[in-house]
Amino acid sequence: MAELLLELFSEEIPARMQARAAEDLRAGITNALVDNGLLYEGAVSHATPRRLVVSVEGLAPETADKREERKGPRVDAPESAIEGFLKSSGVSLSDCRILEDKKGKFYVAVIARKGRPAPELIAEIVPAVIKSFPWPKSMRWGSSALRWVRPLQSIVCTFDGDVVAFEIEGVRSGNVTRGHRFMAPKAFAVRRFEDYAERLARAKVMLDSSERALTILAEARNLAFAQGLELVEDEALLAETSGLVEWPVVLMGSFEQAFLALPPEIITTTLKAHQKCFALRDAKTGALADRYILIANLIAADGGKEIIAGNNRVIAARLTDAKFFWDQDRRFPLESRLHRLDQITFHAKIGSQGQRLRRIEALAGEFAIMLKADPGKARLAARLAKADLVTGAVGEFPELQGVMGRYYALGEGLDVEVADAIRDHYKPQGPSDRIPGSGAAEAVALADKIDTLMGFWLIDEKPTGSKDPYALRRAALGVIRIILENERRLGLLRITRKSLDLFSSPAGEEERQSLLADLLAFFADRLKIYLRDKGARHDLIDAVFSVGREDDLLMLVRRVEALARFLDTEDGRNLLAGVKRATNIIRIEEKKDKRSYGGHPNSKLLIQAEEKALATSIAAAEAQARRAVEAQDFEAAMRALAKLRAPVDAFFDKVTVNADDPSFRDNRLRLLGRIREATLAVADFSKIEG
């Protein structure tokens, strides 16, 4: 069994694309091998900033011979038809045999395909994979027509140690590669993955990205430990830094202690987002340290002195800038900045940030009352929630919106709850982000999101398919998470109506109603997805959703949970079977008779004990279930329905629905219809699977 080694050597590949590209290369090459009849035992791929590598093991040296038969036209068909067939099959008439069946005599082409040597196929496969490679963004360079993520410099392609020769737009394959750009730039020849990986390691290239990441982590922890410090770990940063180096060298830098007076978020953002460095903290106090970890791509001749000095200078300059903004910003209170928000357009059709904030302020006040929070604090927090967008620090560090607002609010001596609300009203930013705590933050967070949704609904800019440029799905999910996870009783219809009333919209009442219904349906969809992600059964969600005009999310969810528990009991399972049976019978009969069996049965026509008992039980169970649902006591509603199980079973056991007397038949079908109706008080059982 043979081995394929492929290295695509290019100029620096963006860090964020490397892992995906390595996987795409492995899949592209191995799929093409299999499609061409070349089986293999295993394949691994790697990426560094300058190379994508795949090694395929256990390859057959050639593909098997193949014989294929293809039926053609009748022997007496026009000559042109026969010629066309021969041409398309790539055979001559002497390669054909004649097949006779009841429709006549036909030519059958016998196409023999010789197996092909693996290198010959590989020389076709690799260029095809390269030309159709799914880079998120690719480019051209020089006078070449080839597209790659950055200029493709060279290709190593060997099969069992020998070069597989091909050329793509002037780049010829070979067996020569290079090591680290600065530490081992000399070219060298390779044969197989084994010696390739070993030569690379000697040429200061760690091929395996997880080895690079582990090296960074281990050395960073060690350096920190030696100074009594702790690494502020960050997986995304670790992945990124290991995609920026072929040979990680971990060094420790420092900055003036005076900068520690800045908010720690400014320091960590400067280190991480701008300089791709790790922050450090004091192992005992947990406070940010005046040191940091940087990852270089070089074992420097001077031990890294210049590299550290250079990085220190850049970080000092950035922190000086940040300190300038921080000092400037605190000279003016947040309130004094509000007029500038009037000049910032939120959306051309929706209006300015200032207008938006006035609505959010009103809405947050109302929500605070509903949530039993302090409306004054909620209104103040809403007023100031976006004021930091026009501060210098947020201009420089947009990712710190809210966070800076909180610091400025605290600096002005505002209430902590107000300050926290300014920071937290953006939350949650996604399915795993923290939700704002109760109080003002919650009210402002809800008001902000609902106002956003309403604004875009009014101008008919809703998410479609994969397009959601204003992150409206995230906003709706945020509302759902806040309500459910803080266990809030808020009718969505009520709170969205309050929001709608704050917009000056020319829409008439009918339009407004349908707009609210549409927005509610959007929430329902997001809720279903949220519940499904949490592991709830989608059929139960549908069963509950389809009966209610319920806009209280918490109650909807409680009902789904109660239903799931009920269906886990024997009573539940049997009742479900009974209801389904009743529903099926009615459906079939209604279709057959072309009429509906709605309405109540005539009690005088109920003659058998079992049908009388069922009628009584249904009336009682329905009334109890409805009362229980109204009182939001879903366990009680389920218990009420559970009482139906025995009479339903007895009815099916003893009573013949299709009685000879049509009046009895009608009446019994109506009784069945009532089973369904009674259960609709809780859920539409027909939507439940099983």
Binding site: M139, L244, V245, A300, I307, N311, A317
Partner: protein, 303 residues
Amino acid sequence: MPLALNPKESFQDLVQTLNQYWAAEGCVILQPYDMEMGAGTFHPATTLRALGPKPWRAAYVQPSRRPTDGRYGENPNRLQHFYQYQVILKPSPNDLQDLYLGSLAAIGIDVRNHDIRFVEDDWESPTLGAWGLGWEVWCDGMEISQFTYFQQVGGIDCFPVSGELTYGLERLAMYVQGIDNVFELNFNGRSGPDKVTYGDIFRQAEQEYSRYNFEYADTDILMQHFRDAEKQCRELLDKGDRGNRHQLALPAYDQCIKASHVFNMLDARGVISVTERQSYILRVRDLAKACCEAWIKTEAGSA
């Protein structure tokens, strides 16, 4: 007077060294374009010469004006007027990265002691309708250059592709001189009383132009300049059009450069709202696109 250049101690020697280096690689060494512009890319030697099939290699210093970056000479890192060193090579040679690293060595950056990194940075100029892929080049964590393979200019596909290198000269000089304040850069490489610093030459200008940019520039006049430049550009594009040839692409493009700079001034004066901003950018881009379309119908811009 020493004849050898000393790029590590003199701003002007840094420029001279780059000139020598790129001249040796076959570049024509041009002088700055005589108009106000936001970046070296606007120079017709880059924007226009990047289009069309003819090979082209040029290098030049371009004074760049970013009115909003003015800080009255008080910020050690920000200037409303600074110098970019611009190199354009069409078609981009296969060893462009090595050539670039060679230029760093020439100005005294020893790659055995400095951590040079190519960090993803896709370049886009909304006003020029141009974009390209490449990197920002980091030296010990500091961005010292932009490195771009042009893919489109003026909405037109670049073929062959140009490689563009932009060095921020002040930053680079601060780095090699080991100085934290741009105004303290040694400009002429002398010491003692003969030494002239960057601040000696430009601090007053930074103060005065910051006042002008932020406070005194007459916005009505600027708006009129914008309209005039736009109108003149359109007229020239129209009058120079001879079907498959164009005779006034360069003067028309000058008007586009002018409109772009006036827009930057208006932006600094804070009189352009967010929505208007977008429409100004689109107006300049329309001019740039039309000029580029005209350019590829000229002698230098076509086969």
